[in-house]
Symmetry: C2
Subunit: 361 residues, 2 copies
């Protein structure tokens, strides 16, 4: 076994299941809170699962970080995106300047934003950029290859992408972050993510492919056709996460899978965003099914296929607002809701503390 594969196996072995006894204790506290039984619906399940993840009845999700993984995609040359490939690098610069959607929402919920160059085409030098310390260069390659003519990357690159994501996210978590959000940037990455989703969930291509950043009918047909050809020529093995990532994935999708594994190993909740983050989650889940215990779906994307992916993972999204921006915006927005429910769990008085009698006999 190669070194990277061995490291990955060690990581996977390090993911422990969430302790149901803590979830049960949390449910008991919820039942004592000054409100009708489970009156906050799904919010209670969120706070209780976080108690299980953190093994405490006083969890905190105050210190938040969103990691935006960026990568370019060779499949763009098939005309699958409404935007030119240069936008990927331009958006990375904008993230550092604090002017994009994810920056604003992260500021609003109190999350820091890190940008990881997992494999964009331009060579950005953090030292020469404003707020360059927020850009982490872990370039696996300068964009993937066009998967309609062969694999998107080498299998060694796929493993390296996951490990790079794992290691950077681990550093962030070890710095004291309570909750991690995943985000993405990469022109063409809804095509790669839909391909990953179709292979892993077994769904039909037309069920998985949407308009991404907004292609027209002709662009949508080109996307579906590119994925069909990519799957035919590459025949990815749906039981192998590395093979799927290698054949039709993306560097940032691998990085997100690694960040999710880091959350699980470090026992921290991870909030995933839309289609691309969830493709990363499918890869992480295929490597290690237990990661879902640590995952929260920030929102249901407007992008077709996202709902199929979430169902495959058994995740119910926090928000459903027709968003399809990516960048981690849905994850960051949901973090505010998740923090609210954790605070309710901790700060609402119990019937006993408030001296209020309970239900009528």
């Amino acid at each position: 076994m190669e070194g990277n594969a061995r490291s990955l196996k060690r990581i996977i072995d390090g993911v422990k299941p969430v302790d149901e006894q803590w979830v049960e204790k949390a449910r008991e506290r919820t039942a004592a809170l000054l409100m009708p039984s489970r009156a906050l619906g799904r919010l209670h399940e969120i706070s209780e699962r976080i108690c299980g993840i953190r093994e405490t009845l006083t969890p905190s999700v105050e210190r938040k970080a969103v990691i935006v993984m960026a990568g370019d995609h060779g499949v763009v040359s098939e005309g699958v995106s409404a935007y030119p490939q240069e936008i990927t690098g331009e958006m990375v610069r904008t993230f550092l300047l604090g002017g994009a959607g994810i920056n604003v929402i992260a500021r609003h919920v109190g999350a820091e934003v890190w940008v990881v160059d997992m494999g964009i085409i331009p060579l950005l030098d953090p030292l020469s950029l404003e707020n360059g310390h927020r850009l982490i260069v872990r370039k696996i390659g300068r964009g993937t290859a066009n998967f309609t003519t062969g694999p998107a990357m080498g299998s060694g690159e796929a493993e390296a992408a996951i490990l790079a994501g794992f290691r950077f996210a681990s550093t962030v978590l070890e710095g004291g972050i309570d909750i991690l959000g995943t985000g993405d940037m990469g022109i063409g990455n809804t095509t790669a993510s839909s391909a990953v989703g179709a292979v892993i969930t077994g769904a039909k291509i037309h069920e998985m492919v949407g308009r991404g950043t907004g292609v027209d009918d002709e662009g949508l047909r080109r996307k579906q056709d590119a994925i069909r050809r990519g799957l035919e020529i590459n025949r990815p093995d749906p039981s192998s996460a590395i093979d799927v990532l290698t054949k039709v994935g993306g560097y940032e999708i691998g990085g997100i899978a690694g960040a999710i594994l880091a959350g699980a190993v470090h026992r921290r909740p991870v909030v995933i965003d839309g289609l691309i983050s969830t493709a990363g989650a499918l890869v992480a889940h295929l490597l290690c099914p237990r990661v879902v215990d640590y995952l929260f779906a920030g929102h249901r994307s407007e992008e077709r296929g996202h709902g199929v992916m979430l169902s495959h993972l058994g995740l119910e999204p926090v928000l459903d607002l027709g968003m399809r921006l990516g960048e981690g915006t849905g994850a960051a927005l949901a973090m505010g809701i998740i923090e609210a429910t954790v605070r309710v769990f901790r700060e609402v008085l119990t019937f006993e503390e408030a001296g209020v009698p309970g239900k009528s006999a």
Copy 2:
């Protein structure tokens, strides 16, 4: 025309429609933002409508208040609630102490909480209570009458309740509040709200009535039966908001209707909560259909009937999390999302500002 009725008419005449030209200008700015066209889905509609309401392209919803209207209900003697009536007053005390769900969520989103005694049974003296300045006593009566044996209140009381809610909310708004949330407390008030909802929307009683704070099957039958008898004996006129509120409403429902009118008159967004707030919105809407331009549905309650009410008003909820606590919790939680989208609208760079080219030709 009596004085109160005349005041009410003046208020209604003071509600102006939202200026669609400002909404259109806001849509133009959204289109220039550094993201694919309308990539944040329904969030854009929220920020654009707030631009219309405030007649500006730089709106703020930073200064937030939730007004919790409290009242008691005579219909509780029909066995319609899982909790004793004393809970209403106890919860009012807890709101002042800051220990209830609404307090925690309001703290989280940065909203102040005001509690209005619209007609609870106990005589609470603000001067003798901790944080008593947060309790506003506008007691219309000491609980409504049991509507299964006659009207819940006099028609003069119904008008007085709306006016009291209008006046207090106006004071809050004139104090510099940008966005108002409505909340409620009152054992028995899901029964009154379901009755109001059935009359105004024309829905069947069984479509409107849910388990409230958690009655069992027998309690649910008692609720439905109480409403059936209440509607038979009182025959509320579905075209008259005052008649509906008088016959089967509640003091806090009237107060909420008044607060909504205040938001519309003062041209501020109002975020409504669940079943009880939306019953108040139905009353306000029947008085003045234009108020819906100013309304945002914070969430879809788990309580049966709430969805019917929202459809009647043409409102799409921000959140859908199976909540059914009331107190304004769903409204407050949604305020955080609404503030995020307003900040995105203002703070995200345009393509031009970021120097990023747009879509491919």
